[in-house]
Symmetry: C2
Subunit: 550 residues, 2 copies
């Protein structure tokens, strides 16, 4: 077996190591265009900001180690230019010498990755304008920073841009993030990004939504980013982080099938349309594990697993890739946003019926010092209760809950299973009723009909005349500090004795701070014969849908 692997970072390096473990005899050649293999791309922003102090920490492994330990023929600085599928050989160019040569194969794994997108706008190639993909980009950005940067403009409000923003602020650089959509972190639902927007603002990051760059100019003082809104942003450093495109040229030129968004098409065994060529990582189109649709998810975890699975299949095992759930996480200063499975907007786009709940628990027992707030959003099937997706935002412990929900989705579990989950509880770690249980209780109550709920957007979307009677059951103090416009305040503890103040001919939408007292209020009203629903997630959820306080 002679196996050629094109690309030596996450998917390619995993495939190579796995292949060697499966076969001592195989001839395995790993081609990598750059000088490094298997570097820690997710660490690049933190090296720029100095949080990771040593560059060598980013080298997960080295060509030398892959050679000595895995007996791999590692060829860095080597670009695979074309594939001759008929003759089963590839054309390789040594980038140092310019020499070209052919290499034959039995099987190929394409792990070519994805390249950051640079739009065709004037000035896009000016010095000081970068994308961030590899250690070389990182070195160039760091060098620029070391020469003195006062202002940075980050184009795109995705994961990498926000990680970079944190790091530039750490370096004392004035930072602006420009995002053409009306929200940052577009895989998330917009309201769940609100706490991150607030975090950015509180740290001095300027965020411009609904705008994009249409040109970059070089002036005597430095660069200027010209936005379509007419704004002109001076900067000494500009980084594009507006998404990536699969590096599919090799595949396309070889006549392999690619999907509509450019991802190399593979079957469940990660085989391309050519039975001798497999593909893994950011370059491929994957199956969405929840919706089943083809999609593209450029993440390191799936790339690693795919590399392993492609190797398994090449060395005679029949292993299926199960698809990608899109489990993702980002830290922005002291806050974390994480998600798994389908978002609300993906479900809407797919016309997939769903219900949702929000809970706002603390990450461990409230009586133990240091409890941090979080918001969890849970999306589930309205009939079966199957968990379809989840998003979390807050401080510590968001990662844990999203991991638990990622497993629940993988297992096909329902919200009723979440109610019963037996998670580890001591006051430093969780609560006797964990946030996951709480989300399950709220969702389960909704599906069982115990707990009629209305989504806050839905309650307020109706014309005023058709809106439900808004009942705020919090304390008068809470109410005065801020409430949903038009609401009337009767604290839940007084509700039983003040039922006469409520309309009997109109639906009542009760709410409290997070949904719990609103739930009790709804139960009281319903059992008293009134028509009532609870506004899911209460006032805190309402606030997520409001523009942040200026």
């Amino acid at each position: 077996m002679k196996l050629l692997i094109v690309g030596g970072v996450a998917g390619g390096a995993s495939a190579a190591a796995r292949s060697r473990r499966l076969s001592e005899d195989a001839e395995i050649v790993l081609f990598e265009r750059g000088p490094d293999v298997s570097f820690a791309n997710c660490g690049l922003p933190y090296f720029i900001g100095g949080e990771i102090a040593e560059r060598k920490k980013l080298l997960v492994t080295t060509p030398e180690l892959l050679r000595s330990r895995f007996k791999l023929d590692v060829r860095t600085g080597s670009s695979v230019e074309s594939i001759d599928r008929e003759a089963k050989k590839v054309r390789v160019r040594d980038l140092d010498s310019g020499r070209e040569y052919d290499e034959t194969y039995d099987k190929v794994i394409l792990a070519t990755g994805a390249a950051p997108f640079r739009p065709s706008i004037p000035g896009v190639d000016l010095p000081g304008v970068f994308t961030l993909r590899n250690l070389q980009d990182t070195d160039h950005i760091k060098e620029r920073v070391d020469r003195g940067v006062k202002q940075v403009v980050l184009l795109g409000g995705g994961f990498i841009s926000l990680e970079l923003a944190e790091n530039f602020v750490r370096l004392g650089i004035s930072t602006t993030v420009v995002e053409k959509n009306d929200q940052i972190l577009t895989p998330f639902d917009k309201e769940m990004t609100q706490p991150i927007v607030e975090e950015l603002a509180s740290r001095g990051v300027k965020l411009l939504l609904g705008q994009s760059a249409e040109a970059l100019e070089q002036t005597a003082e430095g660069l200027v980013v010209c936005l379509d809104s007419g704004k002109r942003l001076p900067a000494q450093l500009v980084i594009f982080g507006i998404g990536v495109r699969p590096e599919n040229k090799l595949a396309v030129d070889a006549g392999l099938e690619v999907g509509p968004r450019g991802g190399i098409r593979v079957n469940d065994h990660l085989r391309t349309s050519d039975p001798n060529i497999y593909a893994v990582g950011d370059a491929i189109e994957v199956k969405d594990a929840v919706a089943g649709d083809p999609t593209q998810v450029p993440l390191a975890g799936p790339a690693n697993r795919q590399g392993r699975i492609a190797a398994d299949n090449i060395f005679g095992r029949s292993v299926k890739y199960r698809g990608t759930q899109g489990t993702a996480i980002v830290g922005v200063f002291d806050r974390t946003a994480a998600m798994t499975g389908a978002s609300e907007k993906v479900l809407r786009r797919a016309n997939r019926p769903f219900r949702k709940v929000y809970v706002h628990p603390t990450h461990h027992a409230g009586y133990y010092p240091g409890a941090e707030a979080m918001t969890l959003k849970l999306l589930f099937d309205p009939t079966t209760g199957q968990v379809l997706g989840a998003q979390g935002v807050g401080g510590s412990g968001v990662d844990k809950r999203i991991d638990v929900l990622a497993v629940a989705i993988q297992a096909g579990m329902t919200v009723f299973d979440l109610e019963e989950m037996e998670l580890a509880y001591a006051p430093q770690y969780g609560s006797a009723k964990d946030p996951i249980n709480m989300a399950g209780f709220v969702a389960g109550g909704l599906l069982r009909g115990d707990h009629p709920q209305v989504d806050v957007e839905a309650a307020l979307a109706a014309p005023t005349a058709e809106r439900p009677f808004l009942l705020d059951v919090r304390t008068p103090h809470d109410f005065t500090s801020g409430h949903i416009p038009g609401a009337v305040n009767i604290p839940v503890d007084d509700l039983r004795s003040r039922l006469g103040e409520l309309p009997r001919d109109r639906k009542i939408a009760a709410y409290c701070q997070v949904g719990q007292r609103g739930y009790l209020a709804t139960r009281i009203l319903l059992q008293a014969g009134l028509s009532a629903v609870n506004i899911g997630g209460g006032y805190k959820t309402f606030k997520l849908f409001q523009p942040p306080d200026p």
Copy 2:
């Protein structure tokens, strides 16, 4: 419906609140012997140590709040003395006035809890000798501490004793833990407690294993704890934490069935042998969710869920309790030990076939600062790969992995599912190959036969003549710093060229630091036609089975 609930802490308070949400009309009486309802028992050690500064933080709710918000008839200081099942009434004693009266019922929920065990040894009731169950015990201990305690002896090396040990050290008190078994934290397998033993030692806690108190004496200088080993430990404060016994007197006197260990027997709906009486919490016998056997698991999380389920069943819903997995966690200074499902010793006792693996990953990407080490032990079915149990010990992130594995057990997932889990990865939170994936890879490789492994105890248990040839594939530096006695060192990177040095007529057991290079070495040896196995979990696992360095 007239519902009496006996006991107002976790299970009782949950049942009461749930009952009210299900029925506004029910008459619900909550009897509690003490002055408090629903206090945070898991927080008591931290209040003693001052980590939780305010006593009122421990009051999760108050009788007043339960009255006003849930319209409950809360009677604190009220002891239910007997149940007349024929007449459907209970005898209640008001502990303040001594007055006794009858209260009729339609249904009863027993949430009487469990009492810390005090052995019948001389001096057990001396002043200064305590158990820790409620706020009153806490107040007494705290008062004693405030009067000046130089030495404390904690009898029992369970969860609460270790939490107390941390808190007494925080207060500058010399602390000794005495445990009659040969290990602390007996629900865990012994080797997994080794890092906690080391943590205790490094913090100055004296630990005496295999010993127990046979008497307590009062001397002029204070108390003396006399151990069966002959040791005499002076102390000003002694706390028994040697387990709890279900408070079953009420149930037993009423003729309800109890199990062999004293737990009140309930069916899947948490109903006792009397159809009008339910029981929940630490007082009952539960079904082990993995083994199916009856057991007793005094934990707050299950108690809360049981309270809810008992209420559901009483108010006309048919809801089953799924059993208890025994998910538990304890923090001891900066270390965490957590477990879920069956332990190795439980599986051995039940003659249940299993395999196990150990992994020693870091809690997030090693290239990001602050990565902390952990050890995970995974127990699984040797045929299907179903996950049966897991234990973790280390720093940050142990809680997350045990929660993920708790869900995997609940869902009936296999080690092959762990390989595919798509967990949230950014360098601050995890790794592209999460510890869970790593455990899955090792276990999956074992079951697929790719990765023949031997347990380190098994490898070393054989008489020397029958032992495998021990091959240490780490660096010479690692080897000189410490190795398994009798091992020969050939670093994995040299192995292919030094195969001739190895015996062809004897099984070779390879090992490295954590198992990964040992795995590659095993693959190399096997493919070279030698007979080889990897010592699972490597030298780090070997060390877990050795007595800690003195």
